[in-house]
């Protein structure tokens, strides 16, 4: 057994949040090293499947962040993303996924401090929740169960 350190996957857009995280760096604002940034061109590009796949890969928490409304480099990618997230989040809650592990946020290219603060908060929140074992367990449920069609 290893000591638990939350692993946070951050899906961010290239133009606002990625740049905001760059700014946090340029401004030397410290935050915990638990976060791994995946760069997308725009939040509009983030397929909801990538959120589930983050859980499969063992992310304890996921941050999804892009430009504030009206700031999108592509004018409307974040608006489309916002609708998709709304539907996703409601469905995820309905089927019992732990949506506390997914944080949606707007962080602009100027908000280096907000980015650092966001990572801080999420890491602390997830530390409280503990390791995300639930999703990975699914891959082993229902395998090698002769004669059993109701495996739960």
């Amino acid at each position: 057994m290893q000591k638990f350190e939350p692993k946070i996957m951050a899906y961010v857009c290239n133009w606002c949040t990625y740049a905001g995280a760059d700014l946090a760096g340029t401004s030397r604002i410290k935050y915990p090293p638990n976060v791994r940034i995946v760069r997308y061109p725009c939040t509009g590009r983030i397929d909801f499947m990538f959120l589930l796949k983050a859980f499969e890969a063992g992310a304890d928490g996921v941050i999804v962040s892009g430009c504030h409304p009206n700031d999108c480099h592509y004018t409307s990618g974040n608006f489309h993303a916002r609708r998709r997230w709304m539907v996703f989040k409601e469905l995820a809650e309905f089927v019992g996924l732990d949506t506390r592990r997914i944080t949606f946020s707007w962080v602009s290219a100027a908000e280096g401090a907000k980015w650092a603060e966001l990572v801080n908060t999420v890491v602390e929140d997830i530390r409280e929740l503990g390791p995300n074992t639930e999703y990975q367990e699914l891959a082993n449920k229902g395998v090698n169960m002769p004669g059993d069609l109701l495996y739960v």
């Binding site: 499947m49 709304m86 469905l91 089927v95 707007w106 229902g142």
Partner: protein
């Protein structure tokens, strides 16, 4: 001879249709020849959504055809038209009621829907509310139990009028997003995906649940999404022509109270 049979024969004779989708002995039936019209059920009280047949490649390729449509079939037809899958030139719609009527244009179909629309999913809605009232763990266990039954026969997909992709994303393998296996993860991701892909498109015919050999209440997922979309964005699929697809449309003031 009943009105419906006459209408079908007339469609064969005057509209040059190549097939008519109806019911025979309470089961779907494709009339391929004018004389076979005599075999169709006269008055339909079937709940089966025949629109699904318009997606079957063998039928889709026909140049002209007719379909008997109950309310949910009509909604599916309108949504299929909105998604550029059918045109009123190609598909002749006959209302499935005591006095079958032929619609020349889909606009008339939407009028019929407006006039005859009824709140049918009250029980379903109550069940959705019941699940929502559960704790997160209870919801998780409820769905894990339901999904555990799934054998991935894809009857839900095959019977859904809105599942018409020639290659479903679960069959895409570069990359393979959804595991093919019917283990818990494969089943969860499949049903999650299907629900998301029907968001803003599902016409609420409940066919997915009624055909499921394992009796998984899949319609609850769609009902929940339909309710979310109606509440958040005020939209319903399949009731109006040229309506916006919820997920490729937005309003600047869409709610975002969940975004930090």
């Amino acid at each position: 001879m009943s009105n419906l049979k006459t209408i079908i024969q007339d469609l064969f004779a005057n509209d040059n249709i190549e097939a008519f989708v109806a019911y025979k002995n309470n089961k779907p039936f494709i009339v391929r020849k004018s004389e076979d019209a005599m075999q169709v059920d006269e008055i339909d009280n079937q709940e089966f959504n025949l629109a699904v047949y318009l997606n079957k490649p063998e039928i889709k390729k026909l140049s002209k055809l007719g379909i008997l449509a109950n309310l949910s079939t009509m909604k599916a037809l309108v949504q299929l038209a909105n998604e550029n899958q059918i045109t009123s030139d190609k598909v002749k719609v006959i209302s499935a009621d005591a006095s079958p009527k032929k619609f020349e244009r889909f606009e008339e179909v939407t009028e019929y829907i407006k006039a005859n629309n009824k709140e049918t999913n009250a029980d379903l809605s109550a069940k959705v509310a019941e699940i929502k009232a559960m704790s997160r763990e209870e919801r998780r266990d409820f769905w894990n139990k339901e999904f555990s039954k799934c054998i991935k026969c894809y009857a839900c997909r095959s019977s859904c009028p809105m599942c018409y992709c020639t290659k479903c994303m679960v069959e895409a393998n570069q990359p393979q997003f959804v595991p093919v296996a019917s283990h818990a993860q494969g089943n969860f991701e499949w049903h999650f995906n299907r629900a998301m892909h029907l968001a803003g498109r599902c016409v609420g015919c409940n066919q997915c649940a009624s055909v499921c050999p394992m009796d998984i209440p899949l319609n609850l997922l769609n009902q929940q999404i339909n309710e979310t979309i109606a509440a958040q964005f005020g939209e319903t699929a399949g009731e109006e022509l040229n309506s916006n697809y919820t997920l490729s449309f937005f309003k600047e003031n869409d709610k975002e109270n969940f975004i930090r």
